[in-house]
Symmetry: C2
Subunit: 130 residues, 2 copies
Amino acid sequence: MTHASPYEGRHLIAELHGCSGLTDLGLIERALADAAAVAGASLLEVKLHAFGPGQGITGVALLAESHISIHTWPEHAYAAVDIFLCGQQHDLEAALAVIIVALDAEEIEQQTLTRGFAATVIVQPKVAIR
Amino acid sequence: MTHASPYEGRHLIAELHGCSGLTDLGLIERALADAAAVAGASLLEVKLHAFGPGQGITGVALLAESHISIHTWPEHAYAAVDIFLCGQQHDLEAALAVIIVALDAEEIEQQTLTRGFAATVIVQPKVAIR
């Protein structure tokens, strides 16, 4: 069974290496908010958690159009970033560029997936867990 | 330039079709918390946003090991689910099964990506946005 495509979701998945600022809660909060803004997305809330002095930060910008998430490993100068937005008018690459600049990332690995009804749906039996 | 692999991140991306309960904040909050628990992950906080009566819910379970996110489109009986966990001991499939059962999903499309240092890093010049 396949579906028509009533909405276009895109999900940019990025690994950022050689980063700085990965323990800076304020910097990351601003980066997520700025990324949402430059993408043309509507920010609902930024929710961050710091694991302690010198340790990583995990968090998400909840958007009306899905989310931007970040998880940082300062000990590896690495951040995992997801930018998931519905709507073709949104600029995911611009949002990623804001985060790259904020973290001064030296190396970027990225891919963009299609989300939603656009891809073929694999029919599977329902899963029982008990 | 490539990196060694100091941690193994896996990111399960799922499209759930034919779902019910997609406007039920309590059901989705419990599903995310239960999914985190069955995966063996440490829940920091569940943060949800409901767009209004009969409309979708967007939200995330922030975990010590990354996140589980959900975005629902009740008008299409569709939910986009991400389960991103670092650590090979975590059971992403079990977490997804909990959400599938909670939403009574009829059709599931899923893929699992490797995150972190495991994949080859593409060296790119720094991006300037101004």
